[in-house]
């Protein structure tokens, strides 16, 4: 009961402290065992292994000593410091022997063996000092060599044997010490196993206790919280009264459930339309309570507003209904008008098409006219050329006539000469006749000839007269021809001028016709554009027509919607009346 009333933190501290104490105890026991093992190992090393090393060193020292001695014998003398070397080696061997004696104190068997080894070493040392060195010093190297190879070698063999026996003894004792430490380790292991079992049992007990005192009530609380979460607030639940956190938590849960139940009852009342209930918040931080209080206030004012709003909505929806009726009828009228406009646009399009055709015809006619005017210009230019040629030819004719006139002048002169000749011939004939007459009968025949000459002269004169007349005629004709040629030349000049004027006129005409043609082309192009534009207008009018029909449909739907809105307003009025604020 005491443990149950302890705070959960204290409970946890107590349990974990207990477990820590037990674990520390177990660890101390194990550490002590390890310490024992370590000590026994150290002992073995110190006692036995060091002893072995010393014996080995002594062996090496003895061998070195003997080798130095043999070297002295071989070199026939103790020169080169060999004697000093022997002395130093002897001192080292003495020191090693002393250490051996100091260390080996335990086994009696080993003690005996050590005594024997020491005796032998002493014998070896005395033999060296008393016999061999003096022999060498005296120069009896052969006897010294003999002693060295026989007695001293024997002694060394005994010393080696003794050393081996001591080492064997030491190894035996090491085996024993190892067996002993093995036994110690086994004991330690058993002890640790027992301690671990005890610790596990104790920990299980502590954990079970703690779990039972915390997890059980918490599970109950969780179950209840689940119930609340599912909205089941209809009955409360009693918990055992405890002083720890779990107990406090249970009581807090119980109070929370009470509060929630109260709020739920209030909500039920509000849901039934009773807005007269009041909720007093438990504190300033009671958000839910405050919120409920505010909500009730808000709902009251909202209901009032809604009532007003619904009234307004009802009126407005009635008005909207009336307006949509008007809109529907005007949309119908608009649709009719648009239909008429569409027909008119179609007619205008037809007219535009006709005018486009006309414009095309006009363009073609203008092109032809342009062609004709250009032909006319060329013709006038050709006429001008011909006129110029004619003028030149007229000049040539005039020149010919002038030449003719000159030639007829020459003929006239010739005729005058001939006339003169005829005159003289005449006179000659006359004179001849006179002479013939004067000569009487003899001159009669000559008189005939003279008469004949005179006749010929007369005829010549007549002929020249005729020629003169003809020449006069010719001269008159030529004068006339010159006059005519002059007139013709003037006429041709006039014609040339006229042709030039005509050319200018036709050129101007061509220019203006070209302009007209360009204008006609532009008119045709604009007319084409107009036609395209009329097509677009017609399609646009078609779209507008469809849109207006859609408008009519939409207006009907809007009318229906307004009707529905009105009914909704009425329904909402009824619903709002159920709330009594």
């Amino acid at each position: 009961m005491f443990y149950r009333n302890l705070k959960t933190a204290n409970k946890l501290i107590l349990a974990f402290s207990f477990i820590a104490v037990i674990v520390v105890g177990a660890l101390i026991i194990a550490f002590q065992g390890l310490q024992q093992i370590h000590q026994s190992q150290q002992q073995i090393f110190d006692e036995q292994f060091t002893q072995h090393m010393r014996i080995k060193d002594l062996m090496i020292n003895i061998n070195e000593n003997r080798a130095l001695m043999l070297k002295m014998v071989v070199q026939r003398g103790a020169g080169g410091g060999l004697l000093d070397e022997v002395k130093r080696s002897s001192l080292q061997g003495e020191k090693l022997l002393g250490e051996l004696n100091g260390a080996a104190v335990r086994a009696s068997e080993a003690q005996d063996l050590l005594h024997k080894l020491r005796d032998q070493w002493m014998a070896f040392a005395s033999a060296r000092e008393k016999t061999i060195i003096p022999l060498i010093a005296s120069g009896d190297f052969d006897s010294a060599a003999t002693i060295l190879t026989n007695e001293q070698a024997e002694r060394i063999g005994q010393i080696r044997e003794l050393g081996d026996r001591i080492i064997n003894l030491g190894e035996h004792s090491i085996q024993q010490a190892l067996a002993q430490s093995e036994a110690t380790v086994e004991g330690q292991r058993q002890t640790i196993m027992v301690v671990i079992a005890a610790i596990l049992a104790l920990m299980t007990a502590v954990v079970w206790l703690t779990s039972r005192s915390i997890a059980g009530p918490l599970s109950d609380l969780t179950q209840w919280a689940e119930q609340i979460a599912e909205g089941d607030l209809m009955y409360g639940r009693e918990f055992e009264r405890r002083e720890d956190e779990v107990g406090m938590l249970s009581q807090a849960f119980s109070r929370m459930g009470e509060n929630l139940r109260e709020l739920a009852k209030t909500s039920e009342a509000i849901a039934k339309g009773d807005l007269t209930v009041t909720v007093t918040p438990r504190s300033e931080r009671d958000i839910l309570g405050n919120a409920f209080s505010a909500m009730i206030g808000n709902l009251q004012s909202l209901t009032a507003d809604l009532k007003e709003g619904v009234a307004v909505l009802s009126t407005a929806s009635r008005e909207i209904m009336a307006s949509t009726g008007q809109v529907a009828s005007s949309a119908q009228e608009t649709a009719t008008a648009i239909s008429e406009i569409t027909t008119t646009v179609e007619e205008v399009k037809q007219t535009a098409s006709v005018s486009n055709q006309k414009a095309k015809h006009v363009t073609e006619a203008a092109q032809r006219t342009l062609q004709v005017s250009q032909d006319g210009r060329r013709a006038v230019e050709a006429t001008q050329g011909s006129m110029s040629q004619i003028r030149q030819q007229m000049h040539a004719v005039a020149e010919s006539i002038v030449r003719l006139s000159e030639q007829s002048q020459a003929i006239a002169e010739i005729v005058a000469t001939v006339n003169d000749l005829a005159e003289q011939s005449n006179l000659l004939g006359v004179n001849a006749s006179i002479e013939a007459v004067k000569s009487g009968e003899q001159g009669r025949g000559f008189s005939v000839v003279a008469q004949e000459v005179k006749t010929l002269a007369d005829q010549s004169k007549q002929a020249t007269g005729q020629v003169r007349n003809i020449l006069n005629d010719i001269q008159r004709a030529m004068n006339k021809a010159v006059m005519v040629a002059e007139q013709s030349s003037k006429a041709v000049d006039g014609g040339y001028q006229q042709a030039q004027l005509s050319g200018d006129a036709i050129r101007m005409l061509t220019d203006s016709i070209e302009e007209s043609s360009g204008a006609a082309l532009q008119i045709a192009a604009s007319s084409q554009q107009q036609l395209v534009g009329m097509d677009q207008v017609a399609s646009a009018m078609e779209s507008i027509k469809k849109a207006s029909q859609d408008n009519v449909e939409g207006t009907k739907q809007a009318e229906q919607a307004a009707r529905n809105l009105h009914q909704l307003g009425l329904r909402m009025q009824n619903r709002i009346a159920q709330f009594n604020a």
């Binding site: 006179l427 006749s433 006179i434 007369d458």
Partner: protein
């Protein structure tokens, strides 16, 4: 180019060709035409002369002067020369035109129109001078036109010249039936009035 008279150029060309041909033929006559002409002339010449009374036959030089025809016996006629521009001589009677040179001699020219008081109608351009000459007396008579030697009938010469008047009457032998005035050259040559010897 007035009006629309169409000129027949082909006809004109044909005409010109004909003229050309005619001219060529005229100056190079064909052998036939030449022979025909010569034969005609021979025939005329072969015609026998008419038998006339030798005493009645009278040959005279016929010339025209002031629209009248005169005749002169060729007996005193030296020759007929064309009238050259006469050199006027001052202080001579009006009927003396002047003098001209004929074959190196200076011959005075008389205008019978003035001498006979005939109307002056100017000179024709075919004036010739009939030079009369006998025994150192020599002068020329201006004539309009010399017709040539003609045979006249002495019997038919009208010597009654009552109707004639003036100076002319004195120098006439007679008038032929065709009213030709036959002048008396001898009288003219020996007329004292025609000898000019004025002193100034």
């Amino acid at each position: 180019m007035k009006g629309s008279t169409y000129t027949d150029w082909e006809a004109l060309k044909r005409n010109l060709q004909q003229v050309e041909q005619f001219l060529a033929n005229e100056f190079n006559p064909s052998p036939d035409s030449a022979r025909a002409r010569l034969q005609e002339r021979a025939r005329e010449l072969a015609e026998p002369e008419k038998e006339e009374d030798e005493s009645d036959r009278m040959e005279a030089l016929v010339f025209e002067l002031a629209q009248e025809i005169y005749a002169l016996e060729p007996e005193f006629i030296a020759e007929v020369v064309p009238l050259k521009p006469p050199t006027p001589i001052p202080c001579t009677p009006p009927y003396v035109l002047g003098v001209i040179g004929v074959r190196g001699r200076i011959v005075s020219v008389l205008d019978l129109r003035v001498f006979f008081d005939l109307p002056l109608k100017g000179l024709s351009d075919r004036n010739s001078v009939v030079v009369l000459s006998q025994e150192g007396r020599e002068f020329g008579l201006l004539t309009d036109r010399v017709a040539g030697i003609r045979v006249l009938s002495r019997k038919r010469l009208n010597t009654r010249l009552e109707h004639l008047s003036g100076v002319r009457k004195e120098y006439l032998l007679g008038v032929t039936p065709s009213h030709w005035a036959v002048l008396d050259a001898y009288k003219l040559l020996h007329d004292a009035r025609l000898i000019v010897n004025d002193r100034i």
